[in-house]
Subunit: 325 residues, 2 copies
């Protein structure tokens, strides 16, 4: 037994293409325990469900006051938030009723949402978004996920598919995105494309051997941290592209803050300076002066914490934590 | 006396750069009387207020059951909706407390909002948006104004400046917009730029004399209506640019419908086909299949009707008409 108190808590599950993260979270946002396992390589529904059930049962044994489960999944969730319609990370999945499948095995209510909504809700309640009522959240990793909080609530749109902010286009004539659109901001900042552009733009800087060594955004960030001016400039330039997308979002949503997380956000100062510069130059001055661009605070556990928050929300305890409407 | 009944009604005033339109509107959306006067050429605050008071007093005399006034103004309104912060159509205006100025002279409560919000609210309540709960509205004229209706309410954002949808950029490297940003969708479809692009792209089609004759979007539409293939193609191409912007908005807001009005929308079929084609090609298929792209229905009186609707809203009678949440 990890917790001796009778505090109610929710198990948050963050299903990713690489890992499954789990966190047992209390209503004020304390993480009592967290675990991580690898996502089954085959990524088939039944294998993934088995792993989710396994990790849930393990944590439910040591935390008997878990009253609900929240699940964050990548991809498009249906409007009732019971079904994963499709997921770029799980290409064989099509309309998988994952909430029901889990409920039948673990005998607790399961609330499902898009993983980026989970990330955004966690940052809103317990992280960098605390105290704001109108905020956007972007998580920049393999792709770009988005969340929209309006007047203190997650905004899900008409069919549950809102806030696909990575697929806001910054160039209608730009390169084709895997979603079918052109010039999506994800197409410039998603890991693969960030790294590819870094290789192209930093090429002259390195021998071709060294060039081959750039295979992750973290390596570009490391170069910048070592004082490499071209790497800094490249990262700032990617920040400016994200800032251009943020400008369109500011004009549409008029938010108080945009919270930005994910691996590439860890590039830190040159990245955030680029974002802020683009907004300062591009957005309506009265809006640019108000909106705050803030790094996410909760790190890689935000998704699992947010999944737990979705569980609290579905149980009618919403929003948990201090950031009440 | 035009109306003998005791129905309560609101006077809606639509302040434009060229005309001031006024409409006396009942709660179910019947227009009892409408008037139009020219906006004073100097566009100074005191002149404009005098004209607004004049037209109001005139209509209040013949409609004694007017209980409130709504005013739609172009430009940015403050978060309390009492002040016009700035307006591209009235360059000398800076933080003009126009709601109070009118109230002091006409002794009725005055509700202020952005003119595009008025347009969107009127179409939502009484026009093409009837029956939808999540919709966007775009009015394509001198510029592009936007309105966002979420869950049956106008969405105004954190500081009252949301829904500046004309300043969603489709090309971050595109031509500079008067707002300071680059590649705003307004920069391709606003009257001046639409006409300029038409002259450039249709140049080969006409003698230079004939070419000079294209000075309004309506002339391009007339060419298309006469079966001119290049004019049709040009209009469809402009529709596709707007459709690209709509795609980003669909990914962000997941609306049921986008209502499109204003002068250029009267180009009709080639324009709407272009918009729909771009969305079909670009947007997430599940979203593209659902969202409806619909021409506005109320014509040029929508702004004044919507201003009246804002008056009803402020008086607590909201939403007036049949489209209740």
């Amino acid at each position: 037994m990890h917790d001796q108190t009778e505090t109610l808590c929710v198990l948050g599950l963050d299903l990713g293409g690489t890992n499954i993260k789990a966190a047992v979270v209390t209503e004020p946002g304390t993480v009592l325990e967290q675990l991580q396992i690898e996502t089954p390589a085959g990524r088939e529904v039944s294998e993934v469900v088995d792993e989710l059930v396994g990790i849930s049962v393990r944590l439910m044994r040591s935390h008997r006051n878990i009253t609900a489960v929240g699940l964050g999944a990548p991809g498009l969730v249906d409007e009732h938030r019971r079904i994963v319609r499709l997921s770029p990370n799980f290409p064989t999945w099509s309309n998988v009723p994952i909430a029901r499948m889990l409920e039948e095995k673990i005998h607790l209510p399961v609330a499902l949402d898009n993983d980026a909504n989970c990330f955004g809700l966690a940052e809103y309640l317990w992280g960098a978004g605390k105290g704001f009522r109108f905020m956007l959240a972007l998580t920049v990793g393999t792709g770009i996920g988005g969340a929209v909080i309006l007047d203190g609530r997650i905004y899900r749109g008409n069919s549950g598919a809102a806030a696909e902010l990575g697929h806001v286009s910054v160039d209608l004539w730009g390169p084709k995105c895997r979603c079918g659109n052109r010039g999506c901001v994800e197409r410039y900042l998603g890991e693969q494309w960030f790294t590819q552009a870094a290789r192209e733009q930093l090429f002259e800087l390195t021998t071709s051997e060294e060039d081959d060594s750039i295979s992750t955004p973290a390596q570009v960030s490391a170069l910048a941290a070592d004082g490499d001016e071209r790497a800094k400039k490249f990262i700032a330039g990617r920040g400016e592209i994200l800032g251009a997308a943020c400008t369109s979002l500011i004009h549409a949503f008029d938010p108080e803050a945009i919270i930005i997380g994910g691996g590439i956000a860890q590039a830190g100062e040159p990245f955030f300076s680029g974002i802020r510069r683009a907004i300062r130059v591009r957005a309506y001055p009265v809006l640019a002066a108000r909106v705050k661009i803030i790094p996410a605070q909760l790190g890689t556990i935000a998704g699992a914490m947010g999944a737990a928050a979705i569980g609290f929300e579905s149980a009618g305890v919403y929003p948990p934590g201090g950031n009440r409407p």
